[in-house]
Amino acid sequence: MSVTLYIPRDAVALGLGANKVARALFAGAERRGLDVTIVRTGSRGLFWLEPMVEVATKEGRVAYGPVTLKDVDDLLDAGLTTGGDHALRLGDPETIPFLAKQQRLTFHRCGVIDPVSVEDYRAHGGYRGLENALKLDAEGIVAAVRESGLRGRGGAGFPAGIKWNTVMLAKSEQKYVVCNADEGDSGTFADRMMMEGDPFNLIEGMTIAAVATGATRGYIYLRSEYPQAFETLKEAIVNGVKAGVLGENILGSGKTFHLEVRLGAGAYICGEETSLLESLEGKRGIVRAKPPIPALKGFLGKPTLVNNVMTFTAVPWILENGAKAYADYGMGRSLGTLPIQLAGNIKHGGLIELAFGITLREVIEEYGGGTRSGRPVRAVQVGGPLGAYFPDHLLDTPLDYEAMAAQKGLVGHGGIVVFDDTVDMAAQARFAFEFCATESCGKCTPCRIGATRGVETMDKVIAGIRPEANLKLVEDLCEVMTDGSLCAMGGLTPMPVMSAITHFPEDFRRAGDLPAAAE
């Protein structure tokens, strides 16, 4: 009888040699006369254990990791195919504390199933959400999304139900559903993992949205930095059409939904929804002034629902298990679960899906196990390149939209980037301006010119040229950018800059005060 091995094809696993490991395992098993079938899965998101190989045994799955090429023969000799003992044996993956302590509503299939198999997806509960949705009318679906409390996971935290309602009520012969899969924030990879590991969850979520809003066409706008996700999505869509869960007459309902993946071209600003729509239309990714909002005039001027990957992928669970069940997770006005991405200088990095409300410190210490370098944590950036840097004394802030805002930070897309005590916060503040200057769409002056001025002024601070006066200038510049920018690119760049200056003042006065003549 053939033994099934599960080996991730997630980009992290590939980046750590998973393809070579898979080939060596197959060849090594063959040499030993063992019959193995290899299923390429996504990742469970325990990234320090990748490549993590799982084997199906009578007692359930047994995991080994991190498996490198040189371990393969040793593992096979130790009886990997029957769950044999070995130094790399991790046992039942679901009992690994990092995973066991999580609340995986959205990610429960990721890393478990064959990502491009509709059959496997359905065998693990897939399409129950859509089946339930098809029994409701459009108002019923939108009501479920509203009552779940789901807020947009792309960064702004806008209530999903309100947006869905607006598109549903818009009158038009053509509407669109667009998934924002531009995931440009450093420290984030939840969208990537989902698209590589459980793409049908996204497809199902978008299909439910299409049914609710009356849209018949949809696009996934994917960043070009994710070539693996691109291939997986294309394969999943082809399989979905074949299986009758996409295209005409979905699940025999008479409803139509045509879905396509489109690649971005390396522009961070195209994650901003109006810039994304311009790009999707084939133009430069210049931000549009709002109103009109995309929900009323979006892609090609038609009503368009734009949501993040994590927003759409929360929906099938909500429709399957009920809005109330989802809203039972979380705190305050941040309901449900947040797929937290723990990254940077961290020992145990990866995906941590938990109800809103856990503190940054708990995530970093209890899940992350401290820094990878073994040095003390000094700064933590939350919510991507436009998010604030937190010092140690603010790490007890809970991950909750309002609590983070109260500390002049943001949840964003849920990325947490840890830095140890070798970080130079003046360099980080300078980088925030540099990034904004590189990625600005150029439409408004505070952002286009301000970011470049910010880099120049930070260079002076770093060189020790009148640091106090120049820091004052940086502060004024930040105020202008906050108040005068059209979108959050220019509007939020001050957040990492000002948090660095406020919480780490000593890093901005390292060079001492040079005589003004040096300027």
């Binding site: 980009a11 995931e183 440009g184 450093s186 990879f189 066409r217 071209a265 840890v418 140890d420």
Partner: protein
């Protein structure tokens, strides 16, 4: 190893024709051209403009707006994209990049002295828990070191 066809207007017209039916066809066309030829030749601009009934300036504006599109053929044998974003910075990417560029003898957007690769900066590859990260000819590399990159450049050549 990157393999590209030499520029051909005829071939380009065929590629454009394959995509004109798409809503918002410009980016898919530019991607397809770049995949085939390794860059977007200036000769393609009027062809796209014609096919999509837009101005040359609009097409050119698009090519120049996006970091991905090259206006001249890539000169290195491999394409190396190094992540410069924060999570990789936290793992020492700045110093690593100085070392890599030093060994290759080129700057950002440049080609290695030995012609082995051209180097582009990128901002995040979604490998942020396993940095520093890179893409070599589209293949992810995690826990990047200068030696590992050298090995990767030799290996993918075969």
């Amino acid at each position: 190893m990157l393999r590209h066809e030499p520029w051909s207007a005829e071939r380009a017209s065929g590629i454009i024709a394959d995509h004109v039916h798409l809503e918002g066809a410009t980016l898919p066309i530019l991607h397809a051209l770049q995949e085939t030829f390794g860059y977007v030749d200036s000769g393609a601009i009027p062809l796209i403009a014609d096919a999509l009934n837009i101005s040359n300036a609009e097409v050119f504006g698009c090519v120049s707006f996006y970091h991905d599109f090259r206006k001249a053929p890539a000169t290195g044998r491999h394409e190396v994209k190094l992540c410069r974003a924060e999570a990789c910075q936290a793992m020492g990417s700045d110093a690593l990049h100085r070392e890599i560029l030093g060994r290759l003898g080129c700057d950002w957007h440049g080609t290695a002295k030995d012609g082995s690769a051209h180097v582009e900066p990128v901002y995040c590859l979604g490998l942020c828990a396993n940095g520093p990260a890179a893409l070599v000819d589209g293949e992810p590399v995690a826990h990047l070191t200068a030696d590992a990159l050298e090995a990767a450049l030799t290996e993918v050549r075969q």
